[in-house]
């Protein structure tokens, strides 16, 4: 054991402590927002964007999704340190917001007069868009997280996926003109669950240390 301590001591080099999670999250989130705006501009924003923002339900939906993106993103960056920076509220907050947003979407789905309308019209496009909004931000988050030493890599990735999915969900709502509840659930949410699951499995190996 003494040999090991000597060896580790000999290998010691000055290291720069990891930057605070709020700052790392801000940098990443700024990148994500710019990236999504560029992609959304290329895809084209929906024509009735201004009218859309007049709907109180839509505003609540956007605010909840945005909050969830920030809180779960912050949780992911906190989880980069072994002790999670001693903060548990971000993970709890993210789950609470997820529950609220799910309840809102469920209510919209149940109360929707024609939930099946246009459900099959744009599925290729929206699934492809989901991928476009998802892959680069989650890759960047995984790379940044790999600089840390997480003792809860699955939870970290879960939070990251939740954050990227929330941002991607907003971006999809801003670009896809179809507001039918069934369409939203099948083509705006399910792809993220599927991609999130697959990418989570793939990304885990990058967080081993």
């Amino acid at each position: 054991m003494d040999d090991l301590i000597d060896k580790l001591g000999a290998e010691l080099k000055p290291v720069r402590p990891l930057i605070a999670p709020s700052r790392r999250m801000s940098v990443w989130m700024l990148g994500v927002v710019i990236y999504m705006l560029v992609i959304a501009s290329v895809i084209h924003f929906r024509a009735d964007l201004f009218d859309l923002m007049q709907s109180p339900v839509m505003v609540v939906e956007f605010v909840l999704a945005l909050l969830m993106a920030f809180v779960s993103g912050y949780a992911a960056f906190c989880l980069c340190a072994p002790d999670g920076y001693g903060r548990r509220w971000p993970v709890r907050g993210a789950f609470l917001l997820l529950a609220l947003l799910s309840a809102l979407l469920l209510a919209m789905f149940i109360l929707s007069p024609e939930p099946i309308a246009h459900a099959h019209l744009q599925w290729h496009e929206c699934v492809a868009k989901s991928l476009a909004f998802f892959v680069v931000p989650i890759g960047a988050l995984t790379y940044m997280a790999s600089k840390g030493a997480s003792t809860q890599p699955k939870l970290l990735l879960g939070m990251g996926i939740l954050s990227v999915s929330s941002m991607g969900y907003i971006a999809l709502r801003l670009t896809c003109p179809d507001d039918a509840a069934l369409h939203t659930v099948i083509y705006h949410i399910l792809p993220y669950i599927f991609i999130g699951f697959v990418s989570g499995l793939l990304a885990q190996r990058f967080l081993r240390w």
Binding site: M1, L8, G9, E11, A81, P82, A149
Partner: protein, 190 residues
């Protein structure tokens, strides 16, 4: 908890925190002291939960190496002990997961064993079943064979073997590990 004990714990945490902070700046002496201080503490935390001394040694080593890798994730404005204990918990789960996985892989169902399994090798028509292993062990150097036989067949601990063979504990472990690798390469892992 008595006040003196609380203050001792707080001062120890503060001391470790300072040492870790200095280590981050490249102070090798502070780092050496930190790791030396952590070793008995980690041992006392993990020992009650593990089955034998070898596992404790392995886990303590693994924790010290993890502390080394995770050093940049510590910041001096946070208490040191929760950071350390998170690593200990993580590495312990890792070790036990590997242990149980291996135990599961190596387990043999009783149904799969022949009747009178204990007498299996003594039956004349099964003579020679273990000749491959004997031959593979015979191909090892005397020292390697002795170390392997003592630790894996006769049940001595790494420390006991190290004392008998006048080697360090880590050298014994490395030797056994290499022997197993050699046996595996010879197709004796099944």
């Amino acid at each position: 908890m008595p006040l003196s004990e609380i203050s001792l714990k707080t001062s120890r945490d503060k001391q470790w925190s300072d040492l870790a902070h200095k280590a981050q700046q490249g102070d090798a002496r502070a780092y050496h002291r930190l790791l030396s201080d952590l070793m008995p503490f980690v041992r006392s935390v993990v020992a009650p939960a593990l089955a034998n001394e070898d596992m404790v040694d392995e886990l303590v080593q693994s924790v010290l190496m993890s502390v080394h890798k995770a050093l940049p994730t510590y910041s001096a404005d946070r208490p040191f002990k929760p950071w350390l204990l998170s690593i200990v918990k993580f590495r312990k789960a890792d070790l036990l997961r590997r242990y149980y996985k291996q135990a599961q892989r190596e387990a043999v169902s009783l149904d799969a064993l022949p009747e009178n399994g204990a007498l299996y090798v003594t039956k004349p028509h099964h003579a020679g079943e273990y000749k491959d292993i004997e031959a593979a062990l015979g191909a090892l150097s005397d020292k390697q064979r002795t170390v392997f036989t003592m630790m894996r067949i006769e049940g001595f601990t790494a420390k006991e073997v190290a004392e008998k063979m006048d080697m360090s504990v880590s050298a014994v472990k490395v030797s056994v590990h290499r022997t197993i690798q050699k046996l595996k390469e010879g197709g004796l892992d099944g």
